[in-house]
């Protein structure tokens, strides 16, 4: 009886702790969200929590401004009927171009390293060849090299190869920066697969490549997916690498660059940052919630005893 009560008590205590941690963690984002819907005057004058006071005075102007690149403040100008909002978003000063650039950078910069890392991780985990362990140690060692150290030498190399300012250059850079961690992570996941499976497959007549794409990849979807999400988030949120290798021109600048330049080029416009941040967060949020089921599914269950 007392045991039951005690267990229930410790459970609710656990829940309280978890919920408070979650709340603390979400609070800044929530504040950002609240601010993104407030007018410039309010943002400058009071803290975000004042937004919760009635009467509510929410506005979507910040979002409109960020999306279209127009400023609605200052002068009272008559709405320009000849221009559509959608047109502004996609062309001109709008965020559309930056969004598209971000996608152009992020998708290959995620796919290329994940594919290469899968192959490499399989080889490092399950193929026998001389120097394998040394190679693994080198890869792990690369994890500690600070990215900043490589910026200048690689940029000089890119200049020579005419890769500076091209998307290809950024893809290659992100691939190289992502690979050590990706290989290391996947190699550990692959190595954890039971050896029996590989032996059984080789008796069944499977070549290394068949083992890789018929057995290892399907069984590692959760780990590959989580790696892909990490890499995507890293690239999507990256400012430094893009700034260095792409330069700041409008036609190649990704979202991060666009948002940061919004403030400096428009001077006082930092009130647009909350809205900009939320727009740039949309895609990662959507992707995460789509792939989320893969994280929880224990796909290995049932292969072996237990």
């Amino acid at each position: 009886m007392t045991g039951k009560v005690g267990r229930r008590l410790s459970r609710s205590l656990l829940h309280i702790v978890i919920i408070s941690i979650c709340l603390m963690w979400t609070l800044p984002s929530f504040g950002l969200l609240a601010n993104s819907f407030r007018s410039r005057r309010d943002i400058v004058a009071t803290g975000w929590w004042m937004a919760l006071k009635t009467p509510f005075a929410f506005t979507v102007e910040n979002y409109m401004d960020v999306l279209t690149g127009q400023s609605h403040y200052g002068e009272e100008k008559a709405p320009d009927k000849s221009r559509s909002i959608l047109g502004d978003i996609i062309t001109g000063q709008g965020i559309g171009r930056a969004f598209l650039n971000s996608l152009i950078i992020s998708i290959p910069s995620t796919l290329i390293p994940v594919v290469i890392a899968s192959f490499a991780a399989y080889a490092l985990a399950w193929m026998r060849f001389p120097g394998r362990d040394l190679l693994l140690i080198i890869v792990v060692g690369l994890l500690v090299v600070p990215l900043q150290m490589t910026l200048i030498p690689i940029l000089r190399l890119y200049k020579g190869l005419h890769l500076a300012g091209t998307f290809l250059g950024v893809w290659l850079a992100h691939t190289a920066y992502g690979l050590p961690y990706a290989i290391y992570l996947l190699r550990n996941f692959f190595k954890a697969l039971p050896q029996d499976l590989f032996e059984s497959a080789s008796l069944d007549g499977a070549s290394q490549f068949v083992v890789f794409y018929r057995i290892v990849v399907p069984l590692s979807i959760p780990s590959i997916a989580s790696l892909a999400i990490f890499q995507f988030l890293w690239v999507w949120n990256d400012l430094l690498v893009a700034l260095i290798y792409l330069g700041g021109t409008r036609d190649v600048a990704p979202l991060t660059m666009h948002i940061s330049s919004m403030m400096s080029s428009l001077g006082e416009n930092w009130h647009l940052l909350p809205a900009g941040a939320f727009i740039s967060m949309m895609l990662p949020l959507i992707i995460f919630s789509i792939l989320q089921p893969y994280f929880v599914r224990g796909i290995l269950a049932g292969s072996l005893k237990g």
């Binding site: 032996e199 008796l203 069944d204 057995i215 290995l300 049932g302 292969s303 072996l304 005893k305």
Partner: protein, 372 residues
């Protein structure tokens, strides 16, 4: 459907010798069981035959072919693993069909073979399930099915029953024996369980420390173990071993174990003349020690006095742990026995079934009978 010949197989892991000079000829359709304590090299031997392990020295022939340099997939073998090693993301059907698909069999042929195997194993209704939805016994069947569909010339089993509960194990044992009858294929089976070896094998290979101790039929290794290790390993409960001396007294030979002396039957005397006054190890199996009151009259042997320490009734018989002098012994006696804890009991030893082992390692058994 092939003979397997293993010649002089050795396998080192770095400096450690896992298997030493392993020599074995396995006839077509034989059910050979490699048995021994863990670490004796039995699994390594099997994995060398499968090609999963490179051997350090020796040759392996399957059928007419030397397979040393063939990869596992070209050896025409199928293996069942201890942990089943089913592909978790494939259905039972796909698991069984995988090997055939990779070998580019026609769809109809694959379908027919899978259904055939499923029928033999009674798993037809499971074909669309995933391994995680199966019980341990069912997974075991699927693993066997995956081996069957390939119709290999040799089946390799690596401790396939050790993850099953006791009851299921007994059942699967019988099923595998039946399967062997049905398939008429050579089987090499590895286990640490001597009961599995005894019940299923047509030939048993007992290994220890990487070396073969004895090869023989189950009854051969049971009745005539070559040395102390085999005598103690085969049979449950294990054979009793008593340090003793062969003595000659009144023109008869006896075993002198200190607390008791037992007369050796006259037909064994001729084999033991050379051992007179030598220290030996006297071995007797638990079932060859009977409660005197219920022993068959035909048993010729001496009796000893002992004190009962533990009584374990098993229904059909009673297992007694007794102490006689300085020796602890186990006897399997008639269930009618009146043995009580801490009380004395008179046990009769069937002296026709005694084993005499040399005192010096490797404790060879001294021949004491004409063998059929």
């Amino acid at each position: 459907m092939a003979k397997v010949v293993i010649e002089n197989l050795s396998k080192y892991f770095d400096r450690v010798e896992a298997v030493k000079n392993f020599e074995l000829e396995i006839d077509d359709k034989e059910f050979v069981v490699l048995v021994g304590p863990s670490g004796c090299g039995k699994s390594t031997t099997l994995r060398c035959v499968a090609g999963l392990e490179e051997m350090t020295a020796g040759e392996i022939h399957i059928g007419d072919q030397m397979v040393n340099d063939l990869p596992p997939r070209d050896r025409n073998i199928a293996m069942v693993f201890q942990d089943y090693a089913l592909y978790p993301h494939m259905s039972v059907y796909q698991n069984m069909a995988f090997g055939l698909k990779l070998r580019k069999y026609a769809k109809a042929e694959i379908n027919q073979r899978v259904r055939e195997a499923a029928e033999i194993l009674g798993i037809e209704e499971l074909l669309n399930r995933k391994p995680r939805e199966l019980s341990g016994g069912q997974r075991q069947r699927v693993a066997v099915g995956r081996a069957i569909v390939r119709k290999p010339s040799v089946f390799l089993f690596d401790e396939p029953l050790s993850n099953l509960d006791a009851k299921l194990r007994v059942q699967m044992r019988a099923e595998l024996s039946k399967l062997h009858q049905q398939l008429q294929t050579t089987i090499i089976y590895v286990t640490h369980d001597q009961v599995e070896a005894m019940t299923m094998g047509t030939k048993i290979v007992i290994m220890k420390d990487g070396e073969i101790q004895q090869v023989g039929t189950p009854m051969e290794v049971y009745e005539y173990p070559v040395n102390l290790f085999v005598g103690g390993f085969i049979g449950s409960p294990a054979m009793n071993f008593i340090p003793a001396k062969i003595i000659s007294k009144d023109s008869e030979l006896s075993v002198d174990a200190g607390s008791f002396e037992l007369v050796i039957p006259s037909e064994k005397e001729q084999y033991l003349q050379g051992k007179i006054n030598e220290e030996v190890i006297f071995g007797i199996r638990p079932e060859d020690m009977q409660d005197k009151s219920f022993a068959e009259k035909s048993i010729q042997g001496g009796s000893i006095q002992a004190v009962v320490e533990v009584v374990e009734p098993l229904g059909s018989e009673v297992q007694l742990f007794v102490i006689s002098g300085e020796h602890s012994l186990v006897a399997r006696v008639d269930p009618r026995t009146q043995a009580r804890l801490s009380e004395g009991i008179k046990l009769v030893l069937n002296m026709d079934k005694i084993h005499i082992f040399e005192k010096e390692p490797p404790h060879f058994r001294v021949k004491t009978e004409e063998r059929p």
